[in-house]
């Protein structure tokens, strides 16, 4: 008996220690949470349980930038009737339709946004072909067919999302019949798929580019001849042939050719080590020099084997150019941070996968004032500003020809590869294909049996995609949510919840007439108020519903030149840095040199 008493005393002390770790406080935290966190676990997502929408509620019909445009791209968004929304832009945007087709801008009911305090993180309510049934954290997400879908309803009842980190694991899942479709198969695993008659490899054509970038604020990369010498001295063909999967290409331009106006102008330099060495000698480096190759060890379609390719480039620099490079593998977040501030002395290996199918997505992000490659190249910046104002693709062609030629001449980076990728599917899965943009469109698939199980790389972070940027969250959202436009199987932006969005003459006002008779999964009707409410929650920093997951709303910020009504940033030292690196292509070139001073300051 004494034993038991002592032991229980011990246990009590243990429990106290554990209680300090917060064991008993679950309810308290849940209560103090915003309403968003209230639905948890298995009872989320049944849209039908949500209260019916109050009729005739007062909705915001307009959201506008109080202080005028500033750097922003969007001046106002207004519901002019139940079925019409007008976007007024601050400057013409030739890529408007391609941008709004991105699932980040998908529409949710205004009442639901209000009810969740602007953070419907776990249970999105959309108009899409599938309804979220259950998100079992850590293991899977289940969707069921939307019987009332406005388009053609899916041919099967249940769609399941799962995840596995390794390509080989995803193949195993499909091979064993546990799943019918898996994403992102790594190149060495192609053989596994080809060797199995029950599996098919589906080519993924998402436009991308892998490049080695130079920061021109560091020696010797301030010397254009050094950059040109490296451009000629790297055997890109060997890299693509040896390290990239079939279907990958050696780029002639930074932008891939699938993108309109992407590859116009003179193609890239041929591989010529003798000429490269001569150029390097003329530039004052007959014996080469020492430098560093910076990279992050993160698999991307544009760079399937980061370390292996880095070592190949290291070897080529040594053998072809006598340049002695050390490899520095960095933590991903830190690497991106340093790159985007232009702080890396040496060569950085990075790439770009398209967000939306427009040439500005490739060129403007990198070369229109970004300090990633050191001081922006003024001639490229001004040419890009001209292109960004031209809505007509045919009229823009000569401008992009000039831009591409300037990039070839200045060599801020060397494009190494356009990487090919592939997904794996069970051979019995009918109508399976990979669109160049966004997730597979499961609504059109014809599986042999129910459910259709899809394995992707990772679990979504949240299902409020207005405030997410990872592909895994977005692909789940795409099954449930729809925007005004969406991408079709060829990657074109086509109408979805809008019948049409038409520009005025100079491309600054876009009038969208909305599809009628569409209902959300909670039974409420879709109308213009929902469009304005969704955009306001994402874009208007002053909106009470501008909550989200992290509150970053990265794509609203990045695609539309910043948020509306954002609180003025305090003029601290950090703010100087901020102002220069958020410059967009419309900034005048005369200010460009300040961009280079800032990172130097921030170093000290």
């Amino acid at each position: 008996m004494r034993t038991r008493r002592r032991l229980s005393a011990v246990l009590l002390v243990g429990a106290l220690v554990l209680a300090a770790c917060g064991g008993g406080d679950e309810t308290e935290t849940a209560d103090s949470e915003s309403p968003a966190a209230a639905p948890t676990g298995s009872d989320t997502g049944s849209g039908s349980e949500a209260p019916p929408p109050a009729s005739g509620e007062a909705e915001t019909t307009m959201v506008a930038n109080e202080a005028g445009c500033g750097d922003n791209k969007v001046e106002s968004i207004e519901a002019t009737s139940d079925t019409e929304v007008v976007f007024t832009l601050c400057s013409p945007d030739p890529a408007f339709l391609q941008k709004i087709a991105f699932v980040v801008f998908a529409i949710q009911p205004s009442e639901y946004l209000a009810e969740t305090g602007g953070a419907p993180l776990e249970a999105p309510v959309g108009t899409g072909p599938f309804v979220l049934e259950n998100w079992n954290r850590g293991s899977e997400i289940t969707f069921t067919r939307n019987q009332d879908y406005w388009g053609e309803a899916p041919a099967f009842e249940t769609l399941v999302f799962r995840w596995a980190e390794e390509s080989a694991q995803r193949i195993t899942e499909v091979q064993s019949g546990n799943a019918q479709y898996g994403t992102n198969i790594s190149a060495p695993d192609y053989e596994l798929v080809n060797a199995d008659d029950n599996l098919v490899l589906l080519e993924d054509l998402n436009p991308n580019v892998f490049y080695m970038g130079f920061t021109n604020t560091f020696e010797p990369f301030d010397n254009p001849d050094v950059r040109r010498a490296i451009a000629m001295g790297i055997d890109r063909q060997r890299i693509v042939d040896t390290y990239y999967p079939e279907g990958s290409e050696v780029p002639d331009f930074f932008t891939p050719c699938q993108i309109e106006n992407g590859c116009v102008g003179d193609p890239w330099y041929d591989f010529d080590p003798e000429a490269a060495q001569a150029l390097l000698a003329d530039a004052g480096y007959p014996d080469g020099f020492d430098t560093t190759i910076h990279l992050r060890d993160v698999f991307r379609v544009y760079l399937p084997e980061p370390q292996t390719v880095a070592q190949e480039i290291q070897t080529q620099l040594a053998e072809n150019l006598n340049i002695n490079a050390e490899i520095n593998v960095m933590e991903s977040g830190a690497f991106i941070g340093e790159v985007s501030e232009g702080n890396l002395d040496g060569i950085h290996l990075l790439g770009w996968g398209a967000d939306y199918p427009h040439v500005t997505n490739f060129l403007d992000y990198h070369f229109a004032g970004n300090v990633q490659f050191g001081d922006p190249y003024p001639d490229i910046v001004s040419a890009l500003a001209e292109g960004a104002a031209e809505v007509d693709p045919a009229a823009a062609e000569p401008i992009y020809e000039e831009v591409n030629n300037l990039i070839r001449d200045e060599v801020p980076m060397v494009p190494i590869a356009h990487g090919a990728a592939a997904d794996v599917a069970s051979a019995s899965l009918g109508n399976a294909s990979v669109p160049p943009f966004g997730a597979p469109q499961f609504k059109t698939f014809q599986p042999e049996a129910d459910p259709l199980v899809f394995v992707q790389n990772a679990e979504p972070i949240s299902l409020y995609c207005s405030d997410e940027s990872d592909g895994e969250s977005l692909s789940a959202c795409e099954q449930v949510l729809e925007g005004l436009y969406q991408y079709d199987a060829e990657g074109n932006a086509v109408p979805a919840l809008a019948e049409e969005c038409a520009p005025n003459e100079d491309g600054t006002v876009w009038t969208c007439s909305l599809r009628e008779g569409v209902t959300f999964h909670d039974g409420s009707d879709f109308d213009a108020g929902d469009v304005v409410a969704t955009w306001a929650a994402g874009m208007d920093a002053s909106s009470p519903l501008h909550t989200g997951n992290t509150g970053g709303f990265e794509y609203y910020t990045y695609l539309w030149g910043g948020l509306m009504n954002a609180p003025a940033v305090e003029p601290t030292e950090g703010a100087t840095e901020t102002a220069t690196s958020t410059e967009t292509g419309s900034e005048t070139t005369s200010e460009a040199p300040t961009g280079s001073e800032t990172p130097t300051e921030s170093e000290s």
């Binding site: 390794e166 390509s167 080989a168 193949i171 195993t172 790594s186 060495p188 695993d189 053989e191 596994l192 040896t242 060890d297 993160v298 084997e305 370390q307 292996t308 880095a310 070592q311 190949e312 290291q314 070897t315 053998e319 050390e326 490899i327 520095n328 593998v329 991903s332």
Partner: protein, 341 residues
């Protein structure tokens, strides 16, 4: 990012190592069995001072004899000796340059990731380098690294333990609580953090692993000091005016040597595992240095398609660690006579 290898612990670093540290912790609980046993010798024999001075020699000779009677211990010694030879003669016995990409050589017909063949016994890696040569050169890195980690940990740890045990009081409390904090941590997490802070380099791996493993040596040393302090003859020699230093040298060190050697040998095994885990996480040797952990890290996703790239570096780590474990075990058995009665 992928996963780490060899960090199978919350309490002790590395599998083998956690074994060692746990047994050390165990010894603390059971009244320091290792040290008790060795002092037990002295107690039982009612030694005169002379006998005591002679004893280490004969103990060592006896231990040697006992050691060579044990097959597993001898096997461990053989493995370690062989690996040491491999490391020493790597430039001679390695068939190829470990960082040369063989598919660049004119007139060769090899492709990267070629399976093992007569020319390339363990195949080629993802950069078309000869894997056997890389593994051979890897021994040149892992063995000295493991040994230096343990030496560093023993020197620092044993000093801390000796100071704590010798002076006692608040100094003892503070030092040993500090050791407890280190032990109260998932060792791999702590080692990762230290290595991150110091930056990616092989010498920082050394420091990180040495720091997380030093508490066990401190504990053993302190226990030795304490047990000796209690024995009468020490009090006697103290009374006779022997200096602390002399006592440390003539009484305490010889006594602590046995457990330190055993723990240290086992510690090398743990240190190699731990260092491989850090390299696996990209914190150790940078490419193209041939290091087993980073070789594994670079290729581990290819387990299904090119298993040879995953099996052999892992096997190299395993055999090395096994060698030191067997050796350590053999030494323990040989030096701990109570198991041989």
């Amino acid at each position: 990012m992928g996963a780490g290898s060899g960090g199978e612990q919350a309490g002790g670093p590395g599998g083998a190592d956690s074994l060692a540290s746990q047994e050390a912790a165990q010894q603390r609980r059971t009244g320091d069995s290792v040290t008790r046993r060795s002092t037990g010798l002295a107690e039982g024999d009612e030694p005169s001072d002379d006998e005591l001075l002679d004893e280490p020699l004969s103990v060592w000779r006896l231990a040697m004899r006992r050691f060579f009677r044990r097959k597993l211990g001898v096997l461990g010694l053989a493995i370690v000796t062989l690996l040491a030879l491999v490391a020493l003669t790597a430039p001679i016995i390695a068939p190829y340059d470990p960082i040369q990409q063989l598919d660049r050589v004119e007139g060769t017909d090899v492709a990267r990731r070629d399976a093992p063949s007569a020319e390339h016994l363990l195949g080629l890696d993802s950069n078309a380098r000869d894997q056997l040569s890389r593994i051979i050169y890897g021994a040149r890195l892992s063995l000295p690294l493991g040994v230096s980690i343990v030496l560093a940990a023993i020197i620092v740890g044993a000093s801390i333990g000796a100071i704590a045990g010798f002076f006692g009081g608040w100094l003892d409390t503070i030092l040993m609580r500090l050791m407890d904090v280190i032990l109260g941590f998932p060792a791999l997490v702590l080692a990762i953090a230290i290595a991150y802070v110091l930056g990616n380099a092989i010498q920082n791996v050394l420091i990180a692993v040495a720091v997380v493993t030093l508490p066990q040596y401190a504990r053993v040393m302190r226990a030795s000091v304490l047990s000796i302090k209690e024995v009468d003859f020490v009090a006697a020699s103290e009374a006779l005016g022997a200096s602390s230093w002399r006592m440390l040298r003539t009484r305490i060190l010889p006594n602590a040597l046995t457990p330190l050697i055993v723990l240290g040998t086992l510690g090398i095994a743990g240190a190699i595992l731990e260092a491989a885990a850090l390299s696996f996480l990209g914190l150790g040797a940078q490419p193209p240095t041939p290091e087993w952990g980073s070789m594994l890290a670079q290729e581990y996703t290819l387990i299904r398609t090119y298993p040879h790239l995953v099996i052999y570096p892992g096997l190299a780590i395993m055999v090395t660690v096994l060698g030191f474990n067997l050796l350590g075990d053999g030494l323990r058995d040989a030096l701990d006579p109570s198991l041989n009665e």
